[in-house]
């Protein structure tokens, strides 16, 4: 089982580090990261393995929001993307 984390907002130092730390604390393994910075705009999509996570996705979302304030953060199970975009 995998989930997708997206982080969008104004670029600053340490976003990726903070997000990865939260994932590590939740025992979620990072599988893939796509990140880009356009002018001051930061956008990141991270795929994580949630098989052995020690908390649920809602808690992980709350932790991320607290640790990376001011950014738009979404944590969603990958099934929603698969069902919407794959037949």
């Amino acid at each position: 089982m995998r989930a997708v984390i997206t982080v969008i907002g104004k670029d600053m130092v340490g976003i990726l580090a903070k997000v990865s730390t939260c994932c590590a604390e939740a025992n979620a393994n990072v599988i893939e990261v796509t990140q880009s910075v356009l002018q001051e705009f930061f956008a990141m999509v991270m795929l994580i393995d949630i098989e052995n996570m020690n908390c649920d996705l809602g808690q992980l979302r709350e932790n991320l929001k607290q640790n990376v304030p001011g950014m738009k953060i979404h944590v969603m199970h990958e099934d929603i993307f698969n069902s919407m975009h794959r037949i």
Binding site: D56, L57, M76, H77, D79, S83, M84, H85
Partner: protein, 452 residues
Amino acid sequence: MLNMTDIMETITMIQEENLDIRTITMGISLLDCCDSDIERSCNKVYEKIYRCAKDLVQTGCDIEQKYGIPIINKRISVTPIAMLVGASGGDPLKYALTLDKVAKDVGVNFIGGFSALVHKGFSPGDRELIESIPRALAATEYVCSSVNIGSTKSGINMDAVKTMGSVIRKTAELTADKQCIGAAKLVVFCNAPEDNPFMAGAFHGAGEPDCVINVGVSGPGVVRAALKKAGQDCDLTQVADIIKRTAFKITRMGQLVGSEASKRLGVPFGIVDLSLAPTPAIGDSVAHILEEIGLEKCGAHGTTAALALLNDAVKKGGVMASSNVGGLSGAFIPVTEDAGMIEAARSGALTIEKLEAMTAVCSVGIDMVVIPGDTPLEVISGILADEAAIGMINSKTTAIRLIPAIGKDEGEELEFGGLLGNGPVMKINKMSPAVMINRGGRIPAPIQSLKN
């Protein structure tokens, strides 16, 4: 691997374009709660609903967390209460109060099924229930009521049409101090679906399983955004294709959430209702989709054609995305619940006659329309009869929700708040159909019913 564009598209749909799951509705059969004593019957009703639905709201919240998609309403629909009244006798208000209490205790937003099916005639319990509707809706907060007065197979019960004219007015009168809100929770149907998850018309039909999960999706904002992005150069075939593609994606999400809820609750998954359900929020309007297709204002000539295209494309796109489609499935056009419709009605572009024409090609009827408080009862019944006739002849559902604004007249407004919205009192043709309505009897089933 998931592609970044797809991921961002889904997130934009949810964040910017108001995509959501409108409702997870648990249908519960109360047939095994029938008892000849109304007190015992009510106790069994409370106990069964509580037992089946106690985890419904929490499960909905858990699924929201997992997928990051808002689930706006968690609801319950039950067996038409008139069937229980038929067995137990007594004052149906007791059932309404029981439903209200259990809805509050399990935390759902609405409970539907204070209903009677009288399309061919009244059986024991039906008249008592219908007469108690105004009191029941005034005394409760969560209970929704519906009455089926006609069907393609059986014709239209004109005695029921006449009765409902006065029931609607009485319901509005008893809740006049609360913006006549009782009438907004009362639906009159022709061809009522037995598995509809949407309120106020949801009830759990007699042919349904003991307990079932039905899901209603939403997403007018998403359809409008997709059309806007495509621009004004594409022709109507392309417009229909864009709507189909979007409806497919929306419905897939409904299917996913429905099957997950069914698995977690250990209850079979019934249907996905493919409806485009608007809310009064900006960017969540069906009228604005019609305007995006190319009308100056919803209600202009051309509106019926645009709505026919929209309604059909939504079904074609959605039907492949779900294993079982049911309920109302189509575009809703409730006036007070749709920002674009409210504007159109205020500006005079949208009249009740145009709305009536639109209901011939969409999934509901004259829905959430505020009429003057002094509208004669026969005129209200006349509107019901017209809508039922459209449903009967076209073999489709028509659902009518009229709100007589007690003490108010054209130009004034009612404000319900929340998903029910607000809207102006619309102009009504007050020429009297009294003689026809007072004839009573039944309009025979049309030739379309003879399919065997």
